[in-house]
């Protein structure tokens, strides 16, 4: 399974055939056990956020909804007491490990990630969480 994340800010540059081109999208692929360290941390952060928001009925409402979007996941993480800095740094390491390809062809290396805007990084992290890491949990919520 693949998901294409369209970059909001055209700030991501990468080298191609001796030139430097502006990236349009990032192709995301499912993680394997190689990425276990990062995927478990991200999944754990999400469920910790869910747990910490249980005290607030308003915020809990809609959480773990089957129609949850990338923006919702990121907002929820920010509103909770999880270490958001750690979440984003873990996401960077995950994208650097081979699950993301710039324009579907170039591995998403650290120098390329450094040119990405924070908004794109957050949304891409949310997109990855929704589609690959939380997919089974959200599918269960849909059945319930």
């Amino acid at each position: 399974m693949e998901v294409l994340y369209t970059l909001q800010d055209k700030t991501v540059l990468y080298a191609k055939d001796g030139d430097e081109v502006v990236a349009e999208f990032v192709q995301l692929t499912a993680p394997s056990s190689k990425q276990l360290k990062h995927t478990t941390f991200l999944k754990q952060s999400f469920f910790r956020a869910l747990n910490s928001l249980q005290g607030s009925a308003d915020q809990k409402e809609g959480a773990e909804s089957p129609d949850m979007k990338a923006e919702d996941v990121i907002s929820m993480l920010y509103m909770s007491d999880v270490d958001m800095n750690g979440v984003l740094l873990s996401a960077i390491e995950l994208f650097n490990s081979g699950v993301a390809l710039v324009d579907g062809e170039q591995r998403f290396t650290k120098p390329i990630i450094d040119t990405m805007s924070q908004e794109d990084l957050e949304l891409m992290t949310g997109t990855y969480l929704v589609n690959f890491i939380l997919a089974s949990a959200l599918a269960k919520a849909k059945k319930a």
């Binding site: 990468y14 080298a15 001796g18 430097e20 120098p111």
Partner: protein
């Protein structure tokens, strides 16, 4: 004031571990020629020209001859002029970046297989941006 000495070098999107203090580059401006044209009396006008044959950049650095370094150098040489070299750095919160497009290794380079040795690489490219 402090000179910029701790830069990061990226070749074809991959960060490269270089020998410290070995990076050097040329901005790629053409060489200028200024000649005098006499207009009579004591008056002269300057005639400015650019030698566009020299309007290319050079970037060089050294890497250690470990197996990864030897293979990387070989791949860059084999890649002809389809390499991109990027130098980035920052000092006192001010960032620095130069990009060298269509970079190639025109000259032969040697790989010294000995202790305390380095591979010296010199790229030629389009003028830095």
């Amino acid at each position: 004031m402090q000179p910029l000495s701790n830069v990061a070098v990226t070749v074809n999107n991959a960060p490269i571990a270089i020998v410290p203090n070995s990076c050097e580059f040329d901005e790629g401006f053409a060489e200028y020629n200024v000649r005098a044209a006499s207009t009579g009396g004591q008056a002269v006008e300057d005639v400015f020209s650019e030698d566009m044959e020299t309007a290319f950049s050079m970037v060089k650095f050294s890497i250690y001859p470990d197996i990864e370094g030897i293979n990387l150098a070989r791949s860059w040489k084999a890649n002809r002029n389809a390499n991109t070299v990027v130098i980035t750095g920052s000092l006192d919160g001010v960032s620095f970046r130069r990009t060298f497009k269509k970079a190639s290794l025109p000259a032969k380079y040697s790989v010294p297989l000995s202790n305390d040795s380095v591979i010296e690489l010199e790229f030629k490219s389009k003028a830095a941006v």
